[in-house]
């Protein structure tokens, strides 16, 4: 199943882009209100403002685009995190970025009555930056500096701290629970296109850094000592990687809430496809991450029709068996 040749990888990348576009078309057409292709095309060519067209332009299209952006961002953040921590189970949820951003947003909602999604974005970005920095500093303390084990422990501890503080806030004020719950489960429904526009600059910078780092990450993956011996400024690679993770995961969580498992699952699918070369892992994570999230979001509309399930629940449903399979394989190998 693994693709070895250069041409094969390019071809597969192009195919994955086509599949991604197909998924987006599916996301625009499918749902509680059945939309025909004609309606969808007319919504753009001859907009009249009727309900069926508005569903397409105001609801479905933003949702599809946001799904692609968030899916790609979470997958790339996960792939970077797995390389930087040398831990195949690492993902943004796992080093506390999601939990930290969630806490900041919930705190903002409940203590300062912040309700606009725009405000969530800023709070979420600050939250994920603060959390990453805390984890990074905690992980760098003591002998030997930053190590995968220490950053893993620091991340797990920080994630638990923030998660329990979020729980604590919710216990204090149960009336706010309803308001927060849907966001906390992770969803890309009901987000306006303007919100995506707000995060596009951050996502673009995050993606560009990740693409640019591909080769350096290949070197760093051989271990800190080997990379230093080869003349790499490892602190710079790690710092840039962290900036990219904060931008990508921070924007994603602010817009969609903590959507789990995309960050850990997609990089594994990608590595199964193209191997460990990060010059390929990053671009494939963008496309496959988009595909998986958009598909999960389509599925989320149908499992409990006419009610919708938050997409975060869907990704967990798909993700947990996958996670177990990876864990088992890892154990079998050791």
């Amino acid at each position: 199943m693994k693709i070895h040749t250069h041409q094969g990888k390019w071809l597969t990348l192009i195919i994955s882009i086509f599949v991604l576009i197909l998924c987006m078309v599916g996301s625009v057409l499918l749902g509680y209100t059945d939309t025909s292709i004609q309606t969808a095309i007319q919504a753009f060519s001859h907009p009249t403002g009727v309900f069926d067209q508005l569903v397409v332009t105001e609801v479905r299209l933003p949702r599809a685009l946001i799904g692609v952006a968030i899916g790609g961002a979470l997958a790339v953040a996960g792939a970077l995190m797995q390389a930087l921590t040398r831990n195949p189970m690492a993902s943004p949820d796992f080093i506390g970025v999601n939990a930290g951003a969630s806490f900041f947003i919930v705190a903002g909602m409940m203590l300062f009555s912040v309700t606009s999604l725009e405000a969530f974005l800023w709070i979420g970005l600050v939250g994920s930056a603060v959390t990453s920095l805390a984890v990074y500093l905690l992980g760098s303390m003591g002998r030997g500096g930053l190590s995968p084990l220490k950053i893993t422990l620091a991340g797990a501890a920080t994630a638990m701290l923030f998660a329990s503080m979020t729980q604590g806030l919710l216990v204090l004020d149960e009336s706010a629970l309803d308001q927060v719950m849907f966001w906390l489960a992770g969803s890309i429904e009901g987000r306006k296109l303007e919100l995506l526009q707000l995060i596009v600059p951050y996502l673009t910078i995050g993606f560009l850094i990740a693409l640019f780092l591909g080769k350096s990450i290949n070197v760093l993956q051989m271990g800190e000592d080997v990379a230093t011996g080869l003349g790499q400024k490892t602190w710079l690679v790690k710092l840039l990687g962290l900036v990219s993770i904060v931008l990508l995961a921070g924007s994603a969580v602010s817009v969609a809430g903590p959507i789990s498992f995309i960050g850990v699952m997609v990089p594994h699918i990608v590595k199964g496809l193209v191997g460990n070369d990060y010059r390929w892992v990053v671009p494939f994570s963008i496309t496959i991450g988009g595909i998986v999230l958009v598909l999960a979001d389509i599925a989320a509309r149908f499992v409990m029709m006419p009610e919708e399930v938050p997409v975060g629940v869907m990704t967990a449903l798909i993700g947990i068996p996958f996670f177990l399979a990876v864990a088992r394989r890892g154990v079998g190998k050791a």
């Binding site: 002998r143 051989m222 230093t228 011996g229 003349g231």
Partner: protein, 268 residues
């Protein structure tokens, strides 16, 4: 001629000082082996000379230049380090691993060149891995894997090669095989080699210059024939031994006393 030189070197992990005020010279074009018991500071010293560990105070000179003033890429072009027990990422092929050795020569502007290609091929040939180039590093035997890592450092084309226990976890055949390879690189390509070895007999056989380290200080240094005496082994390793001449090369050969067969079977 001096390849590497430290002066008043102080090394510590956090508050724990390992080496304090050490002066040592590593001769150019020779094989130097660091020996000493576990935790004596020999690996720490090697790591600092490869700029993997920053000294608290003191200086390290690489061919007369202070390494703290050199860019890390410049150092990588002159000096390669093979750390202890390196682990290749899953699915990396031998060729991909060896190619990474060209990293210090690449930049945004300068991509893969024919010179890079040649040096990678040369490194694969020198280590006898030409036929295995497309195999996963994971799938190789311990000895082949270590060869692959040495090939990566060779692709760096360094004058000086530092290795931290390159024969650990290998069976005797492959230990000799790796050391023969390093000896060839020294004698035929004139590369300076500095390594940590645990097997004293092999150290005596392959080293031009031995440095015995005890509690962060140099206990003795010189050719194996000159310094390898029962008194040194007693002081540095706390071990009683006889030393005879290696019947093949005439280098010192240690025979530990221990208790061995003097231990009698318990009756009943």
């Amino acid at each position: 001629m001096i390849a590497l030189e430290t002066s008043q070197l102080k090394l510590a992990y956090g508050e724990r000082v390992i080496i304090d005020g050490l002066d040592v010279e590593i001769p150019k074009g020779k094989i130097t082996v660091l020996i000493g018991c576990n935790g004596c500071g020999k690996s720490t010293l090697l790591r600092s000379m490869a700029r993997l560990l920053k000294p608290k105070t003191g200086t390290i000179l690489l061919e007369g230049q202070m390494i703290s003033k050199m860019s890390t890429k410049e150092i990588a072009k002159q000096l390669a380090i093979l750390p202890q027990g390196p682990v290749a990422p899953e699915g990396l092929t031998v060729l991909q691993l060896v190619k990474q050795g060209r990293f210090p020569y690449q930049s945004m502007l300068r991509q893969w060149s024919t010179e890079d290609e040649e040096l990678v091929n040369k490194a694969l040939e020198a280590t006898g891995l030409d036929e295995l180039r497309d195999q996963d590093v994971d799938s190789l035997s311990g000895g082949q894997r270590q060869r692959a890592w040495i090939a990566m450092t060779l692709a760096q084309n360094p004058d000086i090669l530092l290795l931290d226990e390159p024969t650990t976890y290998l069976d005797l055949t492959h230990q000799v095989d790796i050391l023969d390879l390093l000896f060839t690189l020294n004698r035929q390509e004139n590369r300076t080699i500095l390594m940590v070895l645990h097997d004293l007999n092999l150290a005596c056989r392959y080293a031009d210059h031995l440095i015995a380290v005890k509690s962060g200080e140099i206990y003795a240094q010189g050719s194996p024939e000159d310094i390898m005496k029962p008194s040194l082994v007693q002081d540095v390793f706390q071990m009683d031994c006889e030393i005879i001449s290696d019947p093949i090369f005439g280098t010192p050969l240690l025979i530990p006393h221990g208790k061995g067969r003097n231990i009698v079977r318990k009756e009943g």
